[in-house]
Symmetry: C2
Subunit: 240 residues, 2 copies
């Protein structure tokens, strides 16, 4: 059976202006690969309501799961939750279960649960909360969209909360070989290999370091014996 | 006048599997910001012909410029050039000007210009070559799409070749303030500030370090005097 598919949606002007380097995409990609979920697409959009809504609609109808990152804090530029609610034509307001979590947290820390912080309890009707062991304010899952924070420590904790609730498939296995030869030297050999192992994905990733052109060849698949066989054949071909 | 808009399209299974961390998006974002081009969206798709074609069509009709990264090397998984040609219904074949560049390069380096390497001279009809001072094999611009390599050193060199050919607008200016207070404490103050400076973008980016919750507040705009005024007002508000 094919693995479930997924897309990621990163929300934030700071990524698109270059001020911040996104770290969540790579983290999620690795976790999904381990869990047997195929990440097929990732998008970054700005803090723009129309752009967020459009992306959520498109991605949630195209893929089995959508994971979002960013825009669920207490400030005026945190508009993700409201945009997600609109994308699903669902009402949104401060919800009692989320408010109770925040009340308990701010009572413990001695900070005021003011109007701004209360915005973090705005949860669309019918959504299921995602636990946030780092800073309490929850994420949520609505339909097939998992809405999470942008701060990497919080994002990672939320991914850990969500993944066990998702049915994964066979993890993608991979083996790689590093070759100190230009891609052009090994390309025809790789074309033949890909033809003989149509069930595997064979990627060639060139690098250039200290004036040397080389490549990492990565063989990926669900069947470990087939990956082994392809890598063995590749090693032999490369020695000739 | 509004700045020109842009999107980036990163092509590569290795990013979506988590094997490789994309570095080109952040580089391009910074360069475009300096050049006065607004990067509005970024997408990552896999080495899948239908996905690449669809993304190129969508992005090139939505934004003034599209910058792609990846998939223009000599191996079987390098399918970007052919996908771009199909997206524009344009014929593609080995082109004499690109072939001449490669012939000269491989004569100099003593390597064979074999069939695989010659694939890097496949250029759509009517496209303009993008110079590659690092490893010769050119990128190309067709319509409003700039097709570049994925290897960061080559990508960066190609961006440097392309940017001077693009008319930019006013560069986005920004100033930031680091605050060792939680976002929730300063949110209402930022809402007021954003209301009074509707021509500026005011972002709040929380961080968590050594148990301290703080935030970087970034004020962005095209008019330096207005950015100054907003930051002065913000500093004053924060002291109260």
């Amino acid at each position: 059976m094919a693995n479930p598919t997924a897309a990621m949606l990163v929300i934030g002007d700071e990524i698109l202006s270059g001020r911040t380097r996104d770290a969540n995409m790579n983290y999620l990609a690795k976790e999904l690969t381990k869990h047997g979920v195929d990440l097929r697409e990732a998008r970054v959009v700005s803090d723009d309501a129309a752009a967020i809504e459009r992306a959520v609609r498109e991605l949630s109808t195209t893929y089995d799961h959508v994971f979002t990152s960013g825009g669920i804090g207490p400030t005026h530029d945190d508009i993700t939750a409201d945009c997600i609610a609109r994308a699903f034509d669902t009402p949104i307001d401060v919800r009692d279960d989320a408010r109770a979590l925040l009340e308990e947290h701010y009572r413990r820390t001695g900070l005021e649960l003011n109007a701004a912080r209360l915005r973090m309890a705005r949860i669309p009707d019918g959504a299921k909360l995602i636990e946030n062991p780092v800073s309490t304010a929850p994420g949520f899952t609505i339909e097939n969209v998992h809405v999470m924070a942008g701060v990497p420590a919080v994002f990672e904790a939320m991914v850990a909360s969500v993944l066990p609730t998702i049915t994964g498939g066979a993890p993608l296995l991979s083996q790689s070989l590093r070759v100190n030869r230009g891609e052009g030297d090994i390309a025809s050999l790789l074309t033949d290999l890909a033809g003989d192992f149509p069930d595997l994905s064979i990627g060639c990733y060139p690098f250039q370091k200290d004036g040397i052109f080389g490549a990492n060849i990565v063989v990926r698949g669900r069947d470990g014996a087939r990956v082994d066989a392809a890598v063995t054949r590749l090693s032999r071909d490369l020695e000739q």
